[in-house]
């Protein structure tokens, strides 16, 4: 794993968290959309926060595809679950929510899972040895 790869993993976490927060903030100001007026969903896209959220989530998708091109799925998913922790912290700082004891326990569990998986190799699959050697040298 090179520093550049950690930056891509970090980008996944950051884009996904800020994208979700932005979408959530935007949809709260748009208000609840009833099933009978579902076409209003398309108008919601014009809300600047929703639009920003979509752009951020596109950034997330690009970084996610990039990471999957050089890492195992069972590495990328736990390694980027740190996003749940960031999301909890963002909801405190930006949205003014309170974090309960059980949430801190959740944060601790996710963080230890991330810590464990990122100490191991990022590529393990057997059928493409050329990718295996590429995984940790670059």
């Amino acid at each position: 794993m090179t520093p550049r790869k950690y930056i891509v993993l970090l980008a996944i976490v950051v884009f996904a968290s800020f994208g979700d927060v932005s979408l959530s903030h935007g949809m709260k100001s748009v208000g609840a959309i009833s099933a009978t007026r579902w076409t209003e969903l398309f108008a919601a896209v014009l809300n600047p926060w929703v639009a920003l959220g979509i752009v951020l989530l596109l950034g997330f998708f690009a970084a996610y595809l990039s990471a999957l091109s050089w890492s195992d799925l069972t590495y990328v998913l736990p390694a980027t679950s740190l996003g749940y922790v960031l999301l909890a912290l963002l909801s405190v700082w930006l949205l003014g929510e309170k974090v309960s004891l059980s949430r801190w326990i959740g944060i601790l569990l996710v963080s230890s899972g991330v810590g464990i998986v990122t100490r191991g190799p990022s590529v393990t699959h057997r059928h493409q040895p050329e990718l295996e050697s590429a995984g940790d040298k670059r």
Binding site: S69, P78, S102, I107, L109, R119
Partner: protein, 126 residues
């Protein structure tokens, strides 16, 4: 019956999102390191390789199914049940599917990690 309906939707979401992730992973692995492809052939070649890959298109289909399944489940049950249940179960099904279909070596380290994250997500979102 309401619980059964909700849990069937949760199972459907988990299965389709797992299928989506596994297919996405397979597509990207076959395409190879996108950073290098970009340097060699440019961004357009990267985009073309991705959007024309059958596994990628199938992955999009499964992701759409899981998204609309989520909307459906949210109309039946509370978000505080549906989201943590689907998000945390997906870590376990992904580990199983990655081992079966992607031939990733899911060793004890990865199992422990997937289970910790799964438990953590369930606690976090509950």
């Amino acid at each position: 019956m309401n619980g059964l309906r909700t849990w069937s939707a949760i199972a459907g979401i988990v299965l389709s999102s797992t299928a989506g992730d596994v297919l996405l992973s397979r597509a990207m692995r076959q395409i190879g390191h996108v950073g290098e492809l970009w340097r060699r052939q440019g961004l357009r070649a990267v985009l073309k390789a991705i959007v024309t890959h059958p596994s990628f298109l199938l992955a999009l289909l499964f992701m759409a199914v899981s998204f609309f399944g989520l909307l459906l489940a949210l109309s039946w049950a509370d978000v505080s049940l549906v989201v943590p249940a689907t998000a945390s179960l997906t870590y376990v099904t992904n580990a199983l599917a990655a081992r079966l279909f992607l031939h990733e070596h899911v060793d004890r380290r990865r199992w422990v990690s997937a289970l910790l994250v799964c438990a953590g997500v369930a606690v976090l979102a509950a």
